[in-house]
């Protein structure tokens, strides 16, 4: 579903040019749960931005569903972000003036969904992430974990194929972290491809595959499933039990 060939992203010019991504290639199949790890400045955020159609590479190709993303117009990219991709951020990025429900409705506005339909869908999705009783709360009236659940609900309303999560648990306590990872795993089980950036090894264990970045290059890939099974006894937190309903 995602295919990247010899992709490079360079910031600046000449002497001060920084290679954020240096000739990387990799693929993601539909339904995968991938964790991207690496120190800051390793290029993982840049990759996420390119995958999210927010940025374009200088060299190389990015194919999303057979579409060559670098050739698409700004308008078309906005449409892809709107319909195919759901974003989850470390800092939640909720609009402070709007209720949880209104926040969740935002992506549907750009899709052109009617108000009635928006209210119905947003309510349903908020119930799915366990916030059915909080739909009228402003972000400031919610805990960190709840906020991130609102953000997840927001990422889901247009039925995306991919969820891009940038340090989704970075600002959360361990309990909320569990909740969020459980939800993400559940979403993955329902068929959504998830790509998650994290610096926390424990969090990364929830993925099926971990991609390690350093200096703009992929230095290692690790298939987790076996490891996970191996560590199951030690780490109860790991796992794909996350049924959400």
């Amino acid at each position: 579903m995602i295919k990247i060939n010899n992709l490079s992203k360079i910031y600046g010019e000449g002497e001060i040019a920084v290679k954020a991504l240096d000739n990387i290639s990799f693929e993601v199949d539909e339904g995968e749960f991938i964790a991207i790890m690496g120190p800051s400045g390793s290029g993982k955020s840049t990759l996420m931005n390119i995958l999210g159609c927010l940025d374009t590479p200088n060299f190389g190709d990015y194919f999303l569903d057979e579409m060559k993303v670098s050739e698409l117009s700004d308008k078309k990219l906005a449409k892809i972000r709107n319909k195919k991709i759901g974003f989850i951020f470390q800092t939640f990025n909720l609009l402070p003036r709007l209720s949880a429900q209104k926040n969740v409705e935002q992506p549907m506005i750009y899709k052109g969904t009617t108000r009635k339909e928006r209210e119905k869908i947003s309510k349903k999705v908020l119930e799915e992430v366990g916030l059915g009783d909080r739909i009228d709360h402003k972000p400031s009236e919610l805990s960190g974990g709840q906020r991130q659940r609102v953000a997840i609900a927001r990422s889901l309303v247009n039925d995306p194929q991919i969820i891009l999560a940038d340090e989704p648990t970075g600002n959360l306590d361990s309990e909320s972290e569990e909740d969020i990872l459980e939800i993400l795993t559940g979403l993955n089980n329902s068929g959504i491809t998830i790509i998650m950036v994290t610096h926390d090894k424990k969090v990364a264990q929830h993925a099926e595959r971990i991609v390690y970045f350093r200096d703009g290059k992929i230095i290692r890939e690790e298939n987790i499933k076996n490891v996970q099974q191996f560590e199951f006894e030690l780490d109860k937190a790991g796992g794909g039990s996350g049924e959400i309903s």
Binding site: N49, R97, R115
Partner: protein
């Protein structure tokens, strides 16, 4: 459409969330628009006031034709005759209500050893129709008086009272500059004709114009009063009358008419010119105020966009394209100004009411703020919002989503 409704809702929530800032931003617009409303109110009030004053002086469908006078030769260029009057009356009978000659002067009246000065008007029976004159006792000049040179006089109420006191006046003989006249009619007391200057209404008299001509030995010294069949016909009647007179009397050697007209329409035109000048001034003041106010709005929109950079980045990530962001902020700017417009109209109405109340003590200011003024104001402020919102909104639309998302 779905989007636009949502942008409006978002804009309203932003605007009302930050009430103090909204208000401070909008002060310029509020003052500008309320000034527009007040000025329109005052212009309207002044116009109706001047119009009603003009109506009081003379019917606005009335015009006066007079002989032009050459100050070099000290002679009239032309002299209108009774035949001219008959001719015009016949030719334009469908367009004019009445036509009458008028020659006036001051006279002194003697009776029983008393003598008073008063204003004398010499004319024909048609004069009564020209000025909608009312008679309290007796009658006005009639056709027979004109034809037979009857020495009759109609007196104002005050004149009659000065001379006769409470005694009966009708039928009495008075002496006017040495000639004896019989009183046949009296005007009502405190007669306020809608047209004759009030102060001399009562203190005047009327005699047949033919009698005056015979006594003084003059001829054709009068001017002519023509009352058209309605105000809108006056310009037409004016042209026709001049046309007839020019045909009958020819032009001067310079090719100009020997006659000239004066009418209240000239006054009306004056009012219109003043009105236009005031409107231009108003437009200037309003434009400058709203320009300054608009720049204030642009400034605050730039601040808002900087403050909400992350929101813009987020919206782009969620699927907003450039047009969506552009629309959102232009709509916010328009609505911001629209709210200012509404507040300005509101304030303008209150102030106008207040001015109207104060003015009541001096003149009758019969004016309301017309609906169009409010509508035009709203359209205009919205336009200000649109115009001054474009640049900030373009700036927002062009933001790089990644940088915007990570803006602190």
């Amino acid at each position: 459409m779905v989007k636009f409704l949502e942008y409006i809702r978002l804009a309203l929530s932003e605007i009302f969330h930050n009430k103090t800032r909204t208000f401070l931003t909008l002060i310029g617009i509020i003052i500008g628009i309320s000034a527009v409303i007040i000025i329109i109110f005052v212009i309207q009030g002044a116009e109706t006031y001047v119009m009603s004053e003009l109506e009081r002086i003379a019917p606005v469908d009335l015009m006066q034709v007079y002989n032009r006078y050459d100050s070099k030769t000290q002679r009239f260029l032309g002299q209108m005759t009774f035949e001219d009057i008959d001719y015009i009356e016949e030719k334009e009978k469908n367009n004019i209500k009445a036509i009458a000659p008028r020659y006036s002067g001051d006279g002194s009246l003697r009776y029983d050893g008393k003598e008073i000065d008063f204003n004398l008007i010499t004319t024909t029976p048609a004069f009564k129709e020209i000025y909608d004159l009312e008679i309290a006792e007796g009658r006005f000049i009639n056709k027979l008086d004109i034809e037979n040179f009857n020495q009759v006089i109609i007196l104002g109420h005050e004149t009659a009272e000065n001379i006769f006191g409470n005694d009966k006046a009708i039928g009495e003989k008075v002496v006017l500059d040495g000639t004896s006249f019989t009183v046949v009619g009296i005007l009502p007391k405190d007669y306020e004709s809608p047209i004759l200057p009030v102060s001399i209404n009562d203190n005047r008299g009327f005699i047949p114009i033919t009698v005056m001509e015979r006594i003084t030995g003059t001829k054709n010294r009068f001017s002519i009063l023509v009352r058209a069949n309605g105000r809108e016909k006056l310009p037409y009647v004016k042209n026709k009358v001049m046309e007839h007179l020019n045909t009958r009397h020819g032009l001067t050697v310079e090719g100009k008419s020997k006659f000239a007209t004066y009418n209240m329409v000239s006054g009306l035109e004056m009012v219109n010119i003043i009105k236009i000048v005031l409107l231009i001034l108003l437009g200037g003041v309003a434009s400058i105020t709203l320009l300054v106010a608009g720049i204030g709005v642009m400034n605050i929109m730039l601040v808002i966009i900087t403050e909400r950079t992350r929101e813009i980045g987020l919206r782009k990530a969620l699927g907003a394209n450039k047009k969506d962001i552009l629309s959102q902020f232009i709509i916010e700017s328009i609505i911001l100004c629209f709210v200012g417009g509404i507040l300005g109209i509101f304030l303008g109405h209150i102030a106008s009411d207040f001015i109207g109340q104060i003015a009541k003590n001096y003149i009758q200011l019969n004016a309301t703020v017309p609906l169009w003024a409010s509508l035009v104001s709203l359209i205009f402020t919205s336009f200000v919002g649109l115009f001054f919102g474009i640049y900030p909104a373009l700036k927002a639309a062009r933001l790089n989503p990644i940088e915007a998302l990570h803006y602190e």
